[in-house]
Subunit: 181 residues, 2 copies
DNA sequence: ACTGTAGCGGAGGGCCCCCTCCGTTTTATA
DNA sequence: TATAAAACGGAGGGGGCCCTCCGCTACAGT
């Protein structure tokens, strides 16, 4: 979280390379088979021994976390940035962004359900959006961040069915329309 | 689907008993560990050999189907029954019913995603509800049954978190409010 | 170039799962 | 009660996965 390159004694060149390869491989493998895919498959895909994987990432969760940290950071930033068209529009825009993230990297969802820290980060983003919108009187006041999270999860669930993306965007419209107080 | 007790040559008493036990055990085990739980665990729980399980249910899907057939039938019937307060109210009521089903038997969801036939049955129910509501002009016409299914999946997803049920009911209200044309 | 050491790989033990096969037990019927 | 047929159960072959451990490799600093 602070300066990352001065935190540990610095990695040897081959170690750094392998670490990067593992993350890249995990992105692919998890993207195809979900976040419960075999770690040995990840190591194979990275062209690296299983021992190397375990040296770099203590647990499956650590690996999942490394893969999605960047994406999650971006989502959080987008939520904080807001929208010029007001808080409810910001929610809509953010949900659209979320859909695109899911469409691209299929596993954000399982990352969310497997790595509690990721979940918290996204929850924080959602809270920001919702608080602003409620404060502005644009959204009914009985909603809680978890509600939106659940809606999100719904968007993400079954994201591999054909036509999912269009369906998700329609759902968002319905949902945002229903948000009015 | 037709008279079931005359379909096959009739089961021997012990066979019928074990079949029942297996379904009961599957209900418990799947309820606890999800529909991917080990079939051997189901057999153990039923106090029955693994061979017996496989003789009665050709595949995991067949077992899942047997477990949830009745619940799914009821959901389908409820959708066809409708509501005296109009088609949109019927959707709302049906979603509430769905929530209760999920709250009680935790695995309906995974049943849906694992057994295509269950999915189709529920899809049919949703279509009935939606068609009526659109025809009556109570719901925007661009919605498709899959959209509602996705919303459903969302309701079901993460159904084990604390406070899930209240959150789901709030979401339904938001959603139904947004359904207006 | 030399050498200490960080880092590598993958064999191997332990565990669980799937599914088949067949000797044994239970049931239904004559 | 005797017997054919149905049903049972669980051992066992095959496979995958998790994770540890340690002899070997290749990098970095002198």
């Amino acid at each position: 979280m602070s300066n990352p390159s001065s935190e540990a004694p610095r990695l040897r060149a081959d170690a750094a390379r392998n670490r990067e390869r593992l993350i890249e491989a995990a992105k692919e493998v998890f993207g195809e088979a979900g976040a419960t895919a075999s770690l040995e498959a990840v190591a194979r895909q990275a062209g690296v021994g299983i021992g190397t994987l375990y040296r770099h990432f203590e647990s499956r969760e650590a690996l999942v976390g490394a893969v999605y940290q960047r994406e999650i950071d971006r989502l959080v930033e987008a939520a904080e940035r807001g929208s010029p068209d007001g808080p409810r529009a910001a929610i809509r825009a953010w949900l659209h962004l979320f859909v695109d993230y899911i469409a691209a990297k299929k596993v954000l969802v399982s990352a969310m359900s497997q790595a509690p820290s990721s979940l918290e980060a996204i929850m924080g983003a959602v809270k920001v959006l919702l608080d602003r919108a409620i404060e502005a009187g644009e959204v009914r006041a009985d909603l809680r961040p978890e509600d939106l999270m659940h809606a999100l999860a719904g968007l993400a669930y079954a994201h591999d069915r054909a036509g999912w993306r269009e369906s998700a965007l329609r759902l968002i419209d319905v949902f945002v329309a229903g948000l009015a107080p």
